[in-house]
Symmetry: C3
Subunit: 290 residues, 3 copies
């Protein structure tokens, strides 16, 4: 449902609570949503294992013959720009269009957008199909916002807080947007359509030492979008699930190899009670002009 | 060798024994067969690690320039339909044709057949090249049998027992067929050409929580076909090796991450003696009309 | 800088020392070089995790639209012939040409060259772009040297010592060349341009039981080339880092699964002090005619 952009909100926006995220986790486990991933070859295996461990399932279908048809029946779709070629790029468009037409929630992960011109153009072409959620690092979110008519351009900053204005600008194209980092920053809308946001801490310093953890977060967001009442709750539940699991794994790891193993185990073991106790979620102050 | 289909078998069919499977494992370790995999991007790494851990080796060669030539010299070939595109689909045909012509045993893993129309057509085009063995889940085996002129069509059942009639129908196209699940069901022919089958239990509830374990089973079947006296013995040895390793790994795991690690270790440590003691193999009652 | 091939060296060649390799490791950790990988789908994930664990980073960019542009700005480039198709093969050429023109160091890993004719031709076409380093197994190095006008042809020997003459011949095309095996053999030039070499021991019998460890070594070489004073020092630092980490991992593993995990942890934990104590490096006697 498109929120009315010109409606004057007279009550305070209501950000998702930890209980909302815990309920989403319960729904994920109960419904085991099927994700369709169109993702890069580096992340394909790990991302699928993350979905299976967390409680969802995955079909990696990125050929032009099947991408659209499957996007109509999948629970959620991930389009990740990590290693595109001409064939998968064509499949991205077909899947995004079909997802929009069928009402399938989909996530855009703009890997490398900004620094790499070809895929930056691919991302620009995908935005009109209105992703349900966008997840990137700070630089990617800032670069992608530039595509949307904004003139901020590319910023190589690694600080997700610096990406909040860009994330807010991207709400013209998506229902929820997140910038990942030491503390993840998320923006979206509450049930009444008011702009709100969250900061989600936790995680581990070893998380960026394991490839595809960010890509897997995008995939998990696609799974949660299939079961959550709003895009922001779904996106936030994925972030919180990953952050809590990473924090648990950090205590069981001696390096990036053992961390990745413990992370999958923790994604599997975390339940709604654990999430409620350990998730580090707080409302994000949205700048007044937003 | 094609069994005479119209020959009246007057002695009882002789299903493979655990000793047959243990002998195949010894042969695998002694000969280290080289598999050629044409497989999906999700499974490519894990599947190769499974082969190396079990005692075989792998070359992932799925381009149109080299697929046929290598299929003539490989010990066994795996064609897995998990993530086809136009290029790899063309390579599938070239490899299947070359394998048939050269007498190289090959395995067809019909991932997603039935639910996805394009690859269902690819599978139909591959059957005339007569796979040595077919391995899928119950739904895929039932769907693939529909392609063979049977009218059972697609069945989304997860119960491998329900796929036995489809597996038997597929023996018109292959020498052995298996449907994976909590208890794997396999059919094929004994040395005299009589239809027989096995049920293989064991495994772990964590096995479906790790991606590509089914694909890896298909690859391991291709390795065993290179060293086993019959297709059914080769296929069954792969199933038993995986089931025993998964059962061992289950006792050493706290979740899907640690399970995958322990599974590779167990594939490596299982030997013929362990297989003889732990494999849960029993004859399958074949319906009278088969 | 091209060494003068016809210059008569009057002082003894100076092979890299362990202190040179330890200094390269310190430089790697300080500078975190960004590798561009054009590699096979089997190795893409593991190779990236190896780079992240060791202290570098990776972008897998192998499409024809972006391969050249990124090769101009990357710290080092890996071109690995493991699973080429027409698209990635075209990207190999673009990346190699751009790397040469921009002065970006690049590594050629000739996976399967010799046994597979199409990719053997690809490797021949890449040699004129002058790789900074070449890393392969003994058979691949011998086969690749045959391409360079040498008539040794393909030798299936697994003994890296047998590949030393081929590696020396390849110094007409590259600044450093290594053949991996139980004891790695490396040749290259000292700061004065004199041909020298190293033998590097250590490792683990489990290393060849984990796929993509050789590919990851090539990628790590590309990272070290970005920070090392000579190609031979960079290539040798990668070999020593891997060999020491594998030896440590061997002591913490019960099979190939746990070995791979412990290997990533050890790549992360090994520092210059550990390398100095544990690296098994000794000068290689170069045949007189070299």
């Amino acid at each position: 449902m498109e929120p009315a952009q010109d409606f004057i909100v007279t009550t305070a926006p209501i950000p998702p609570t930890v209980d909302d995220l815990a309920a989403a986790l319960d729904a994920l486990r109960a419904r085991v949503p099927l994700v369709q991933s169109l993702t890069n070859v580096v992340s394909a295996n790990f991302l699928t294992n993350v979905l299976l461990a967390a409680g969802a399932s995955n079909a990696h279908i990125d050929n032009v013959h099947e991408a659209a048809g499957f996007a109509r029946i999948a629970g959620g779709v991930l389009i990740n720009l990590g290693t595109p070629d001409d064939g998968t790029a064509a499949a991205f468009t077909l899947a995004a269009e079909a997802a929009r037409d069928a009402g399938t929630p989909w996530v855009l992960d703009p890997v490398g957008v900004g620094g790499l011109p070809w895929r930056t153009g691919l991302a620009a072409d995908l935005l009109p199909f209105r992703p349900t959620a966008i997840r990137g690092n700070a630089s990617e979110v800032i670069a992608l916002a530039g595509l949307g008519g904004d003139t901020r351009g590319v910023d190589s900053s690694d600080d997700p807080a610096a990406a909040v204005p860009a994330a807010l600008a991207l709400l013209a194209h998506a229902d929820a947007v997140s910038a990942s980092g030491p503390v993840d920053h998320l923006v979206g809308r509450d049930a009444a359509g008011a702009t709100t946001g969250l900061r989600i801490g936790g995680g581990s310093a070893l998380l960026p030492r394991v490839t595809s953890t960010g890509c897997a977060l995008g995939a998990l967001a696609a799974a949660y979008l299939a079961v959550a009442p709003t895009a922001l709750i779904g996106l936030a539940a994925a972030h919180a699930h990953v952050a809590v699991a990473a924090e648990i794994a950090d205590g069981n790891a001696t390096g990036p190899g053992s961390f990745a193993v413990a992370f999958l185990d923790a994604l599997y073991s975390v339940n709604a009670d654990v999430l409620r106790v350990r998730a580090r979620v707080e409302p994000l102050d949205i700048p007044a002009q937003a």
